[in-house]
Assembly symmetry: C2
Amino acid sequence: MKPLDIAAINREAVQAIQKVQPELVGIGIAGEVVPRLRRNLVLHAGPPITWDRMCGPLRGAVMGALVYEGLARSIPEAERLAASGEIAFEPWHEHDGVGPMAGVATASMPVWIVEDRASGRRTFCTLNEGLGKVLRYGAYSEEVLTRLRWMRDVLGPVLQEALTRRPPINLKALIAQALQMGDEVHNRHRAATSLLFRELAPAILRTRAPTDDQVKVLEFLHANDHTFLNLSMPAAKLMLQAAEWREGCTLVTTMARNGTDFGIRVAGLPHRWFTGPAGQVKGLLFPGFIEADCNPDIGDSAITETVGLGGFSMAAAPAIVKFVGGTVADAMRYTQTMYEITVGESEAFQIPSLDFRGAPLGIDLLKVCETGILPQINTGIAHREAGVGQVGAGLVNPPRQCFEAALAAFVEIYCPE
Amino acid sequence: MKPLDIAAINREAVQAIQKVQPELVGIGIAGEVVPRLRRNLVLHAGPPITWDRMCGPLRGAVMGALVYEGLARSIPEAERLAASGEIAFEPWHEHDGVGPMAGVATASMPVWIVEDRASGRRTFCTLNEGLGKVLRYGAYSEEVLTRLRWMRDVLGPVLQEALTRRPPINLKALIAQALQMGDEVHNRHRAATSLLFRELAPAILRTRAPTDDQVKVLEFLHANDHTFLNLSMPAAKLMLQAAEWREGCTLVTTMARNGTDFGIRVAGLPHRWFTGPAGQVKGLLFPGFIEADCNPDIGDSAITETVGLGGFSMAAAPAIVKFVGGTVADAMRYTQTMYEITVGESEAFQIPSLDFRGAPLGIDLLKVCETGILPQINTGIAHREAGVGQVGAGLVNPPRQCFEAALAAFVEIYCPE
């Protein structure tokens, strides 16, 4: 057996990631465009999980989605159905997609379609609902479902038509710009959302939708600085897929949480999840909430960190500390530290305050295990009970055992004697 | 004579500046809303100047404006008219307004109206034409005049109606946000323009203008990241007017250049200009231009520095160095140094990379003279010949003699023996 040149393999993987050009090409109905998504399947964030182990907000989102899909007539009925075994649950990540927080998606939801023209690969994500009481934080009230229906009936179709009336939007260039504008592109998306809004608005005007609907769509996008989160995530996933599944490669290509387990996947260990308990997020809570209200870490949004954004690019976004806590010096330090566990630097994503140094890119399982430094993630915090919603935002790390288990598996496969 | 407590007077002046709430309330026709603007009067940037001493780009803009106004049928005729004595020239600053670069404004141009509701005071500025061959850089070709007519006939009226269909836009809050998003709000306005675009787009849709015009207006605003410059300037002027004219106050309330002279005005020396030769800007030139092509420093846009933005807030905008030259460390240093010549720190305008320290606010004539530190300005560079346009951007300081002359005048008035 030829010895593996892991460093060279990882370098090639980083180059492959850098070559991807994620473009926003359209909107589709999830059931029509997401691979293997069927009517009785609920996609969710993080590694695989069964109903009985799901946390409150994930259960809440599942129940809300079943009512939204017309598979149940009420939340209690949805709860019985979800527990009955008639509904399947699978990770978004195994369907070329990602979902923020609970990350629940079902067949009739509209999804962004992000494409790399050269490879033809596509990734998907639902549209962002806004902050507060929203499905992705486990809320399922009539207000939440009414908004989801409006997103399906008005927002989705208007954006779909708008995107046919203009060229694809280069998301990599847009993210690169946003990093020059104080976004770290995970929990701060004000610049990216603004730049997206500028790109979309003229095309929205050119649709045949009634002016009232056009205005409502613009106001909805304008009201929510997190609109772009649901594009940075599939863009990040599309880039990282270029490293999957590559023999002998130790780069982490997925970090994702379902609110109970934190799971990672590694390029050289195809399709396998390595999990540990999702951590408690430390951060700033909205008034009226206490730490005991907080659900453990949840969501696929750590895909942004996996590609060098979010917690890895906090030096680009000093203002983020007002949302997730800590000081500006902390934000600088998080980015600096992440260079110790990554094998490359992004060509496209540059940190202005570090003299335009490329963001730390390519988390190396070996470096994480050698240094003991865990990836730095910033994230929203969901209430631990179904039906409540967001309670704050903060900072968290993956559990060490994900990396230890992955390393053990890597050694077992690649170093058999 | 009671001794002056200059420090207390300056503190009060800074407080007065901080209290101003500049809001974008509408669009008007300059001749109808700008005080004492008559048909044969051309407003310009900087201190007063006669035709014979005007630099190339200011002459170019004047000639273009005379043709645009129908006062001359051709550029040669405009040149003769401008030199004839039949046209009056006065600084924008003496008409409650400001103009970027040549800063030329005439009666039929649309202007933004910025208002402080509490005091009822208003300031004005023309709408930004975009980059390259534009009147404010001294270009006057048919392309330039056609654009100005479209701005008068379509852009102005659409924005005017849009602004009646929504509440006033709080420019101070918007600028404060932009500083958290990598703008220094003089030569980098990408975030501020994006935020403005988000505010305006839904209102533009609600106008009765044809969809084609609405789309063109959105695309025009979208295509020009400097759109907001023509709002940050009158907002800055409105704030600084609160310090004028205040007995014994040594705060600089105006820094402005006409391309020949740099002039300052001081709160305790009502209406007087103290001038010196406009400096050569050091910076990055567009391909094909050399230093000998560059006109000396020009424009009223240094009003942004006077209120703590632009060169004073470069630490908020590391990405600006790609446009004006220098390093990120330089940008940090410029801001740090400006605290040595200012008496206050902005409450609204915060520098994220300095742990949200307020921007240096209130340039003190005495501190400038004591320390020898000159205000740091960043600025666009015009070609020195009429008709060409912008050739680059860079950094410049005012001439020392403005401050020396102002100090001498201050001593003469306030310390007679």
